[in-house]
Symmetry: C2
Subunit: 214 residues, 2 copies
């Protein structure tokens, strides 16, 4: 059975890592409470992406945290990642599922209410609600879904969901309370002076937000 927790989903971006190594940042973030890691590298060779993916897989295995690869099914297969995250401009979901098999996690970004409805016909493992707010770290974006979008999609989706885009400590509570199962962050952790502390604070906000809902 696929067992994963979307609560605090870290997406990588080496460009924000500054002088620290990406591996060191990710390890600190995991110690702070990150529950899932997506390796997302757009500007590197296949060889380099594979090399980073292998070292990330080794690191995360030790902490029992699943590694998800963004877009590149070849890299996911090559490093035996736990899953893949695809967007609307990547390989079609059915093709990905057929090749990667049913035991791996496949996440799909939905950018509109319509796409979220369509995803109900697919056996994806989670949907990414993208973007919730406007952001500078992703460029291929539609109009933000906003908190209203999260609320609406949460009312009908059969899938677990994670909110993506423009998420910080300030809006995390609202996102969880509008129905997302977790938040996905890049710059709220990577590039911060203390990734472990930031992760801890975020996971606390998430837990508190859920408690209030009970």
């Amino acid at each position: 059975m696929k067992d994963f927790d979307l609560s605090l989903y870290l997406v990588t971006d080496r460009r924000l890592a500054g002088s620290q190594s990406l591996e060191a940042i990710v390890e600190e973030a995991v110690k702070g409470g990150v529950t899932l890691v997506q390796l997302r590298e757009k500007d590197c060779s296949t060889e380099e992406f594979y090399s980073i993916a292998c070292s990330m897989k080794e690191l995360l295995s030790k902490h029992n945290i699943p590694l998800i690869i963004n877009d590149r099914l070849d890299i996911a297969l090559a490093c035996d990642a736990d899953g893949i995250h695809i967007g609307q401009s990547d390989l079609p979901y059915e093709v990905v599922r057929k090749i990667i098999g049913k035991d791996k996690i496949v996440g799909l970004s939905v950018e509109t209410i319509e796409q979220a409805k369509e995803a109900n016909d697919l056996d994806v493992d989670y949907i990414g609600l993208s973007p919730v707010f406007s952001t500078n770290t992703k460029t291929d974006i539609n109009t933000p879904l906003g908190l209203e979008g999260i609320k609406e999609i949460s009312s009908f989706t059969k899938h677990k969901s994670v909110a993506i885009g423009g998420i910080s400590k300030e809006n995390t509570k609202d996102i969880i309370q509008n129905g997302a199962d977790g938040i996905s962050v890049i710059s709220a952790i990577i590039g911060k002076a203390d990734p472990k502390k930031e992760s801890k604070e975020l996971i606390e906000i998430i837990k508190d937000a859920r408690k209030e809902l009970r």
Copy 2:
């Protein structure tokens, strides 16, 4: 059994296609005598690459010409291509072979005499000798191997070989007579006014060059 002919190996580059569709150019080239086609697209989304690969696969199947995908194992798997061509900055050969299986064609670029020697320990289906001459259509290149490089590698390689880089009607004869099993071209066909005619002329030069060797 993998049955393929390296004689006239067309590598695509949409940027050179001009106002013609890449599919139309490739079909003309195949009618002219191209024996193998490699889809090589560096600047497009995965979705777009996949879409082109599927239509190319359909087109080439009709003509019984194998389709090879450059670098991207995910695209090769997704469109059920006949094989993949990897360079020295792509996934490692063993990883690719393990995932794609033994029935598909795997070609490997070698850029030095040393790499050609190392390739003798691998069960690749062919090696690409790259680059033979300097070229403007590939940027990730070492010092050209030259005709001397082809001759030397041909003296010890156990693999079939295709020469890549800077190849035209003017130097095709020398390349074949120095030991390559075929030539790989981009701009000698794509972007020309009559791709069929260019392909015909190239294949004639190749045949004549082989006859002279007998």
